[in-house]
Assembly symmetry: none
Homo-oligomer: 174 residues x 2
């Protein structure tokens, strides 16, 4: 008893396939090992040609049917297509990776900006607060004035009009 097919879990029986890569005569395209080592030896392997395939039955090219427009594994077309696809895959992956990286960076930038904005908000809030307080003072002032109209230029005891310091708020940015 073994596990029977579950659903996602694999244990898949691979289909096998793996092919030995056949060398391509001209390594022009992408044969350079970027950082790793990959070398393909153009070598044919004795796979028991036409005959003994071993059971599988289809291990051989002999079938007389070989169209170039068909899926042939050993066809030139095939190899070419594969190579193209490989290239595309590579490109795609590169882009994907780059994108992820960019996204990460964007997060950082946004975070930074966020902090800046928050700081600014804090500052503005402070300024506002100061101004409001000042305002209240003045209001009191006026009130006093109104309250004691007879006392002309006299008396503001608790009056400190130091508004000059608060007015210089330069909010520069962006």
């Amino acid at each position: 008893m073994s596990k029977r097919s579950q659903q996602k879990i694999n244990t898949e029986q691979n289909r096998g396939t793996v092919s030995v890569i056949q060398g391509q005569a001209s390594g022009a395209t992408t044969s350079g090992p970027p950082g790793g080592s990959l070398q393909r030896v153009p070598q044919l392997v004795p796979v028991t040609p036409a005959g003994g395939g071993g059971g599988g039955g289809k291990a051989t090219p002999p079938p007389s049917k070989m169209k170039k427009t068909s899926g042939d594994k050993d066809s030139d077309e095939y190899r070419q297509r594969r190579e193209r696809n490989n290239l595309a895959v590579k490109k795609s992956r590169m882009r994907s990776k780059q994108k992820a990286q960019d996204t990460q960076q964007r997060v950082n930038e946004l975070k930074e900006e966020n902090e800046r904005l928050e700081a600014k908000i804090k500052l503005l809030g402070k300024e506002l607060s100061v101004l409001k307080d000042l305002f209240l003072e003045h209001a009191h002032n006026l009130a006093d004035n109104v309250q004691a109209p007879g006392a002309e230029g006299a008396s503001p005891a608790h009056n400190n009009n130091n508004n000059n310091g608060a007015c210089n708020n330069n909010n520069n940015s962006q």
Copy 2:
């Protein structure tokens, strides 16, 4: 995009090409035949070093010595290890993907917050502006007072002290 398929379509038939690895000789893990005909014989690889998988094909096998406690390829150990690694790979990739997704989401969140903050800043700026203007008015007022001390409680001609409307700034948020 593309989230479908992939089940057990094994319509694969390989022919030719040299395939190397394939199968789990000892059907330890699940080897149930798909139901059709597909059989894989443990085949030995002729000469190709490690051509096996598609990718890793590294072709630089140690000059000598390569088998010791590991009967490469057709060993049970091997298969087991492969399976484990496959699992790990899957896991790793899943995680990677998830992470990328999370990052993207983070970007969105941050962007949103940014907008909110900016709006708030704008609002605060406006409030500040209003208050400042009000202040100027009052300053003029005072100036007038000073200018015409003899005219006690009279005269502010261009004086509109409607400050009540501006004072009610309630900046609530979040």
